[in-house]
Amino acid sequence: MFGTLPVLLLITLLVFVLLHAAPGDPATMLLGQENTAADLAEAKRRWGLDQPVHVQYVKFVLSAATADLGRSFRFAAPVKEVIAERLPATIELAAFSILIAVVFAIPLGVAAGARPNSWVDNIGTSFGLFGISMPNFWLGIMLILLLAGNFHLVPSGGRSTYGIAGPSQTGFYFLDSVMQRNWAALKDAFLHVLMPALALGVNMIGILMRVTRSSVLETATEEYVVTARAKGLTERIVLWRHILSNALIPIITVVGLELGTLLSGSIIVETVFAWPGVGSLLITGVTSRDYPLVTGLVLMYTVAFVTINLIIDALYAFIDPRIRY
């Protein structure tokens, strides 16, 4: 775990330097068009932007060491609070996307891998290609036009309808509505998450399906699979117990990697669907040059990536007893 500290330090340094090197600063971006030179200078002084960059960076690292990420200029609140407020939305969205992807991609991939070049394989592969090559912002707009516009199945965006759910206790709307036994709010939360989750998930279905397919194909040629068949086991048991369980390692790896990508992929999708998560937060942060917020967010993304990788590593040992750390 301590090995990640230099990584975090390096990443914050990189973000800090890049952000400060980019033209523009929070004062010019946030004060409105009417600002005068005096207003700009005063705002910079108040926000500590008149100090040299290295001083600002050292100050940031020192306070970050005490888990204080500073105050956001744009939101007028501590960065930690701002992120904590938005994170549940992104986690909920990512969880749903991954659910959609796993539910569709794995059975499809297994079926395709079990019968290569059959019609299932052809359809699955075409669908996979469609998923991979579809830019998710475009898919998002198409979904809005189709599902919300033409069929009126789901709301066009946002995360909840005003007036249905009570005050949020956890930030996770699904959890809240179950805790409050507010089934209308549960349904509302589900309808809202469906479209953005689909826009994110379809992309993943493609990748995951292809990985599952090739992993299953590869494992199917192993000797123990031949043995299993020779023992007279049914094809179903051979496929699900002997092939799939051994083909899972690359699949889990990809799910883990994709989970990381989902966090970053949600930056665009969240903006298209007005989903108030950390992705849209990052866009707001970058366009307003909110240094503390952007640095805090990148730090959060890094920690999330590292944690996910750690969990995946632990999962390997769980799935394959031969792997021991």
Binding site: A22, P23, G24, D25, T28, M29, L30, L31, G32, Q33, E34, N35, T36, A37, A38, D39, L40, E42, A43, W47, R71, F73, R74, F75, A76, A77, V82, E85, R86, I141, I144, L145, A148, G149, H152, P155, S156, G157, G158, R159, S160, Y162, G163, I164, Q180, N182, W183, A184, A185, T271, V272, F273, A274, P276, S280, T284, V286, T287, S288, R289
Partner: protein
Amino acid sequence: MNRRQKLLLTGLTALLLITAQARPAEAQTRVSIGVTETMETYNPYGDSVSLLYGIWCQVMGCLGTYDFDKGDYVGMLAERWEVKDPNTWIFYLRKDIRWHDGSPFTADDVVHSFNRARNDPQSKQTQNIAPIASAAAVDKYTVRFTTKQPTAPLLEYLFDRLIITNKAVYEKYGAEADRKYPTGAGPYKFKELVPGQRFVIAKNPDYPGMKQLTQAPDEIIYRVMREDEQRVTALLNGEIQIAQFIPPHLRKRVESDPNTKATTVDSVEIMFLAMQPKPPFDKKEVRQAVCHAIDRDRIIATLLQGLAARLDGPIGPGQYGYDPNLKPKYDYSPDKARKLLAQAGYPNGVDVEIQTPVGRYTLDKQLNEAIAQMLNGAGFRAKLLTPEWATLWSNVQAGKTPFYYMGRGSIVDPSVALSQYFETGGSPRIGYSNPKFDKLLATERQTFEPAKRRKVLAEAMSLLTDDAPACFLWRHKMIYGMAKNIDYKPTPSGRIFGEDIRVLK
């Protein structure tokens, strides 16, 4: 009915009951508005965008606003005001206003608000009170503002910009007050703010005159929807009743639906091409040649589909000090442009780089592609650059962009904007300097008699148009989509006040 069916029926009934219970009492009328600005902070001083000034003004309160129908300023929390001497303004507050917690609204609150706008560490509104040296309560309902120097356009700075907040609540709870105890004095009450998602306000029947406005919505939900398609789809679906800023190409979709309509309003934002007086734009002839080279009428008729009004000077009809007798000075004439270029010493043309934001203003990139082509047809060799907004905007503010397409919004009284862009030392954005123009602006600021002031303003703007440090192009017409049962006339300033909305049965 077997046991299984009974169980299912009981389950369904229970679910129905729970669902019915969970639904809160419906407000009588509720209007949702799809807006493009995002709302992020509970601090009324924490942002400087048009929409939020309007919302905070309704919830917290503000001294007054500009009535575009009347063409004049009207009081809100202030009943009337007077200029005692060129540096002293007295505002007489209404005595029948109460904060939403029942306590009376007084002059101390106004002084407190002035101090917060200036000193709050998160304030992004210091520019609104920049001309003011100090504020003091003369008595319970009278406030005195002392300006640093005579400032005739002071109301342009203060009205619907200086947000009035509750002194007692702030002193009791400090910075926590905004988030936990949002107590306003306006015609609408704070109900809910979900950052990045929505701002909900509810009618305050105790505000003078609100009871009579029976058709004004009981609840208004401002919903953040930055994506155009989403706003239009939500409007057609009935999720929202008003959609801000429909792009021209989606207008037909709104108009062809039987339940929705579209309406336009001239924006108060003026669009122009700014030219820094550095070579080749240090020569007046080159700047004038740019203005002659652009066929504004054709661009408006074709690319903008008629959704813009041509500007022949810095401002247009409805804005303070507009002179209807101003003759169109720059007709479209590539020949005149070429001649002017030759006079300036560029008979073989000249290289220029024009910079434009992308996606910030209506069709900005497309319009500038056309502008660049027209410049090329008139002796220029124009190259179009499209930097990211943050880069362009900060370069412009630092005076590093010689030739650019830009808008200046919120212009009701043009004095502040003219000073900012064109007065010597106003800002480095253009870096133009003309002592004659400076003198006219200084006179205008010290002239408190409206008719005289308009005359001086008109003279200043005429001088500016001739000297052409910028080529004034057009004001966009903004399209608003709305449900058929909504009667609302959008304001040119982009503020959306609940009192102006009527929900028809």
